[in-house]
Structure formats: structure tokens, C-alpha cells
């Protein structure tokens, strides 16, 4: 029997009816068409499906959709501001932090949650925050460097806005 799921995704309100067995990743991809969130290992082992729920990074393949009722979800589609990429996305490009890109949306969302909580993380703090994320082509150093670069860009952006 379907149950009602009211939640916010990337700032927009949704009111859906879903089977209780539906996972959050299924709602995002199949119901809302937000295919940026990847569904990979399906066993909670790779973090490619990471999205933010109420500001925290979580694995959308390991959460029942009904459990985010009333909550606010952010996916990779919510990062960019129109055509303007989020500083994290731009830093990933500039630092060659992906090749095939399959794990990237999960990496970006975990990095976003990290920088929201800790705007100036050390490399070690980045490694701890990202250690669940598997990447099979780029290697992890460039990802860590990209996140640190993004932190600098975000801080500069903030200072600029503060100076206005």
C-alpha cells in the first residue's frame, strides 16, 4: 500500500505516494528524474549515492524514502546556480578530480556537507570525511586537493560578499 511522502528536494516541495519498500535513491532517480545521484554498489559500501538530508551526507541507497518525510534533501542537481557551477564543482574540474565521473556526485555531496560544517578542513579531516567513497579511476589525492581548493574559493567568495 502506498504512503504519502512530503519532502523538499533542492528547494522544491514534493508530495508523492510511494511504496514503503522504495529507497530514497529510487524516488530521486525514478520518480523525480534526478539521475545525478548514482546507484552503484547497492550495499552501502561505495557512497556513490550520497545526498544531503537536512544538511548531512547520507547514503540514499540505504534509506527508506519514507524516512525522509518532512525533511529537506539536496542532490548534486542542487549545487549549481543556473549555468554557474558551484565552487566545489569548478574545483573538481580544475584539479582533475574525476575521470569517469561516476562517483563524483556522491563525492561532491559529501564534500559539500563537510565544508558546510567545517569551512577550512585539513587534508586529514577531508580524508576522514571522504573515506567511505570509492573511486576506481582518479585516485584520492586529487579529490582531496580539489576539496581544499574549493574551501579556499568559498572562503574568498564569502569575504568578497562580506566586503560588499
Amino acid at each position: 500500500m502506498k504512503k504519502e511522502l512530503k519532502f523538499k528536494v533542492n528547494g522544491e516541495d514534493y508530495d508523492l505516494w510511494v511504496e514503503p519498500k522504495t529507497l530514497l535513491v529510487q524516488v530521486l532517480r525514478d520518480e523525480l528524474g534526478l539521475k545525478g545521484t548514482k546507484w552503484a554498489c547497492d550495499s552501502g559500501a561505495c557512497c556513490a549515492c550520497t545526498v544531503m538530508v537536512d544538511g548531512r551526507a547520507v547514503k540514499s541507497c540505504s534509506i527508506l524514502a519514507l524516512q525522509v518525510n518532512g525533511k529537506e534533501v539536496m542532490t548534486v542537481e542542487g549545487l549549481a546556480n543556473g549555468p554557474e557551477l558551484h565552487p566545489l564543482q569548478q574545483a573538481f574540474i580544475d584539479n582533475w578530480a574525476f575521470q569517469c565521473g561516476f562517483c563524483t556526485s556522491g563525492q561532491l555531496m559529501a564534500a559539500k556537507a563537510l565544508l558546510d560544517e567545517n569551512p577550512d578542513p585539513t587534508i586529514d579531516e577531508i580524508k576522514i570525511a571522504m573515506d567511505g567513497h570509492l573511486c576506481r579511476c582518479t585516485g584520492y589525492n586529487m579529490i582531496s586537493e580539489a576539496i581544499q581548493d574549493a574551501a579556499k574559493r568559498l572562503q574568498a567568495q564569502k569575504q568578497q560578499e562580506g566586503g560588499k
Binding site: 500500500m1 504512503k3 511504496e19 514503503p20 519498500k21 529507497l23 546507484w39 547497492d42 550495499s43 552501502g44 557512497c47 550520497t50 538530508v53 548531512r56 551526507a57 547520507v58 547514503k59 540505504s62 534509506i63 527508506l64 519514507l66 524516512q67 518525510n69 559529501a110 556537507a113 576522514i128 570525511a129 573515506d131 567511505g132 567513497h133
Partner: protein, 295 residues
């Protein structure tokens, strides 16, 4: 093609009473309680568990809390997330070993959604929190329709994924007494990957008498090397009432290694795990001892 879960009927009680009422109706059938689901959903995808009824308690916000005072000690609501424990200032101050343990539970993503009560109720012998709560002399509060009871943390898990919880019961709180003076606690797990399940884990709590020379009390808990987390009581006996020395710690490690009953798995042999226990108990107890001297 990804796994689609089997159908089930979903209940989302908002209070412990509502949850207990549902358990009294469905508990004896193919029914499971889900909190964060970080362990259960994987088993459901693998069809190892196929509940017809799922009682989803994640929304019972009254069970999400951490409190501490000197008399009552520490109380953690069962639906507190791993991450909340890891980041709690109270835990950082009074029970840093719990924060250290949490830092190595899976990934941040899992810790953000998974709950402490769910982890313990899951009864996985390689889970991280149970050995630490055993070393800390913790108790678990269990609610049932016929009232409440508490059990020692060390008596909670009976064997692989099996606990003392009845079909109509719910773990509601973890209680840890205030640490006696001059007590040091340390937990270490050996795992193949950062954040992975333990191949073997050891938690040790050592209390020294006033002059900080003699060990007046000690609790040694082992994880992943028996069907349930266990106390290494023979190893404890070697240390209790004695002056701690490297030689004595090595003997305790040897004793613990003999008490453990690990099994060979796909990655590691029984012998290897026994060797791990021997070395880990010696090292972890040494660290607990050093902490006790400073406490």
C-alpha cells in the same frame, strides 16, 4: 538492475508506546524493527531478512538524547545517531573512548543516519559499540508492554545476530555509570579497511587504586572473535589486584587469546585472529593503563 526490496507493511509510530503496541500485534510474525536501517536494509536486499511488517521507529524523537551527570552517569537514547555521539561535547569530555570508537564506525554517511540502538540490537558480533559499552560496565534499558527491564551490556547479545530482546520488546536507552577515579579506557579494532567491520577488536577499562600503582579493577571486552562480544575474564583475573607490568600485560593477552573462540572466515584464519587478540589486549590494556595514570 538493482535489488528491489520485497513488499512489506510499514508502520511509523511516533512514541515508544505506539511502537510497543504494534510489536504486541505483529512482533511474533515476520516483523522487524527498523531504526536507521544501515544494517537491516542490506540484509533485506540480500533477502536474508524478509519482514512482512516493518516497524519504523526512526521518527520517535523522544529516544534521541545524550545526558550526563555525576550521579546518574551517561544516558544515550537508542535513536541517537553514531555521529551525534562522535560529536557530543559531553562524550568528548567524560567518555572520549566512545567518540574514538565512533570515528571508525563505517563512514560519515552511515554514522549520520545509523543509530546506536539499532547497531546494538542488530547483534552483530563484530559491531564496534558493544565491546566498549561492556568495558564501560554499561546497562541497556529495554521497554516492553509489561514494563521495563535493564540488562548488563555484556549479557545483551546471545550469539550471531541474536539478543535477549523479546518479540514485544524495544531497546530504549544505553546507560553508562560515571567512571571511578583513576580509570582509563581504550578501544582498538583491527580491520582490513578504514571503517570496515572488525577482524578483531578489544576494549579495556582499567581502574587504579589511589596511589596509581595497583590495578583495582579491570574489564576486558573482545569483539568479532566469538559468536557475541565477550569479556575475557581470565585475562582480567591476571591483572586485577596486581601492579601492571609489560610482562603481566603480555600474560593477559595470552589468556584472552585462549579464551576467545574465533572462527576462520573468508579473509582471516582462526589462528590469525587469536594472535590479533593476544597482541591487541596487551597494547590496548597498556594504553588504558597509561590513561588511568593520568586520570
Amino acid at each position: 538492475m538493482k535489488t528491489i526490496l520485497n513488499d512489506f507493511e510499514h508502520f511509523a509510530p511516533k512514541t515508544v508506546e505506539e511502537a510497543l503496541d504494534l510489536l504486541s500485534r505483529y512482533g511474533e510474525e515476520e516483523c522487524k524493527i527498523v531504526a536507521g536501517g544501515q544494517s537491516l536494509l542490506i540484509l533485506m536486499k540480500q533477502r536474508l531478512v524478509t519482514p512482512k511488517y516493518l516497524i519504523d521507529i526512526k521518527g520517535i524523537s523522544a529516544l534521541d538524547y545524550i545526558t550526563f551527570d555525576e550521579q546518574q552517569g551517561l544516558k544515550i537514547g537508542a535513536l541517537t545517531t553514531h555521529r551525534a555521539i562522535e560529536k557530543s561535547p559531553v562524550i568528548e569530555k567524560y567518555y572520549p573512548v566512545l567518540a574514538e570508537m565512533e570515528q571508525n564506525v563505517s563512514s560519515v554517511e552511515t554514522r549520520n543516519w545509523g543509530t546506536i540502538g539499532g547497531n546494538i540490537s542488530h547483534g552483530d558480533p563484530s559491531g564496534d559499540p558493544a565491546p566498549v559499552f561492556i568495558a564501560l560496565n554499561g546497562r541497556l534499558r529495554i521497554a516492553g508492554l509489561n514494563g521495563e527491564r535493564t540488562v548488563e551490556a555484556e549479557d545483551f547479545t546471545l550469539g550471531y545476530f541474536e539478543t535477549v530482546l523479546g518479540h514485544d520488546e524495544l531497546l530504549t536507552e544505553i546507560q553508562v555509570p560515571a567512571l571511578p577515579p583513576h580509570t582509563g579506557v581504550k578501544y582498538t579494532k583491527f580491520s582490513q579497511l578504514q571503517g570496515d567491520y572488525a577482524t578483531a577488536s578489544v576494549a579495556v577499562s582499567i581502574t587504579l587504586e589511589a596511589k596509581k600503582k595497583t590495578c583495582s579493577d579491570v574489564r576486558i571486552a573482545l569483539g568479532a572473535v566469538a559468536p557475541a562480544p565477550m569479556r575475557a575474564k581470565k585475562a582480567e583475573e591476571i591483572l586485577r589486584g596486581e601492579k601492571i607490568s609489560d610482562d603481566l600485560l603480555a600474560r593477559a593477552g595470552q589468556a584472552a587469546s585462549e579464551e576467545a573462540s574465533p572462527t576462520t572466515d573468508a579473509e582471516v584464519s582462526e589462528e590469525y585472529k587469536r594472535e590479533l587478540v593476544k597482541v591487541l589486549v596487551k597494547r590496548v590494556a597498556k594504553e588504558a593503563f597509561e590513561r588511568a595514570k593520568k586520570a
